[in-house]
Amino acid sequence: MADDPAGRLRYVDALPRQELRDALRRAKAFDPPLRILAEDVLGADSRIDFVAVDPSGCVVLVVIGDEGEDSQLLTRALAHRAWVRPRLRDWLQLGPDLEISASAPVVAAILCPSFSPATRAAADDLGPEVVQLSSCRSVRNGAAATVLLERLSPRPAPAPPAAADHTSRFRSGLSEADLGLTSEEAREFE
């Protein structure tokens, strides 16, 4: 692609995958920041773009896709997650310095230019401890390329207190107060 003599920022179509990964690393684009452990790793039946760790020690599997690939990517990401989860303890044996929390969730982070309503609804329902969606747009600034990420799925909610929390909501959209639940009843299922 020819340099733009005016040096204007402009969106570009998908960068080649390696260039995109390099741009993501350089830009330190992830929020929260991720410590990348490995790149282009063979997962369940395809490759995982990044295996990373977030500040809380959760393993984050980053998969990147092109426009229109979001639903396939969701399936693939969940497959990678299912493949990784039983292997975490083994990884810890192989690399105790990785500072991975074996008991923390394994999160699939999907980067795509856009997501269909169905994919977004499925991700919202699965929750941020399973899958997180971010739109990913490549930008050229002269000869350099960078990446803009925008997190789409909700950020993790703080852990609920032990007592009945009357403001947090269940998957049905109802709260404990809506259902008339007492603290004693809530404790039955802790």
Binding site: S71, L74, T75, L78, A79, A82, P117, A118, T119, R120, A121, A122, D124, D125, L126, F170, R171, S172, G173, L174, E176, D178, L179, G180, L181, E185, A186, E188, F189, E190
Partner: protein, 237 residues
């Protein structure tokens, strides 16, 4: 024709997919099945596109702004099917009705007309084995038993990796419900945690037709058999 109410949140595509897949499995067992939901669901991502009707299973949207109107619409659909004699008495059928949980809340708070509680006479809840989901199912059971004493409340445990895990979850929920609410829960089996479930949900295709030999499809069929057996018993009773 028996009507099963299934509380499903407006963004709960997983439970909506379970319900739709269950209806398809009931149809595969030779019975008639349909899913009924409020017309407002047309704008949501809960259901497959209208053109997708595997085994003739429709998602029928009825104009309704509360449980009473939804109940009326569902019964009319059930009556029309029965009158059209498309199904033999022995084959039977089931109408699954998506209950917006917020309408349940309004009914419970006395903010809606008292009609529509008939829709709760047979309620099906999907829960995982996670404590938070079990608490939610207990809470909905609490509300349902208050609004419709003596209602049949069925539980299907999903996301289970092992049968024992699902059984333990059901027993835990059933024990607390019996002790605190003096209500009995009916087990409608478990849905296995299987990648095919998520693939099918995203692709809007029924598990039983796309991956019939998968553990998820087999477990869905088992649940359908349990539900249909009770539906036939209720129809003949």
């Amino acid at each position: 024709m028996p009507i099963v109410g299934v509380p499903i949140g407006e963004r709960d595509v997983v439970r909506a997919a379970f319900t739709w897949n269950l209806a398809v499995e009931v149809a595969r067992l030779g019975a008639w099945a349909a899913v009924v939901a409020p017309l407002a669901d047309r704008a949501s991502a809960l259901w497959p596109e209208e053109s997708i009707r595997p085994m003739g299973v429709n998602v029928l949207l009825v104009p309704a702004t509360n449980l009473e109107e939804l109940d009326r619409g569902a019964r009319e659909i059930a009556r029309q099917q029965h009158a059209s004699a498309r199904i033999s008495v022995d084959a039977g059928g089931v109408v699954f009705v998506r209950i917006p949980p917020l309408w349940l809340r309004e009914l419970g708070a006395g903010q809606a007309s008292a009609g529509g509680t008939e829709l709760l006479r047979w309620t099906l809840l999907f829960t995982s084995s996670e404590g938070r989901d079990l608490l939610e199912s207990y809470g909905i059971a609490k509300l349902v038993t208050r609004l419709s004493p003596g209602a049949r409340i069925g539980i299907t445990v999903h996301g289970a990796r092992r049968t024992g895990e699902a059984q333990a979850a059901f027993l835990r929920l059933a024990k607390v419900t019996r002790r605190r609410l003096s209500a009995h829960l009916t087990s409608y089996g478990l849905l296995v945690d299987d990648l095919h479930v998520y693939r099918a949900i995203v692709a809007q295709r029924p598990i039983g037709l796309v991956h019939p030999q998968s553990p998820a499809a087999r477990s869905m069929r088992d649940v359908a058999e349990l539900v249909l057996a009770d539906a036939r018993a209720a129809a003949h009773g």
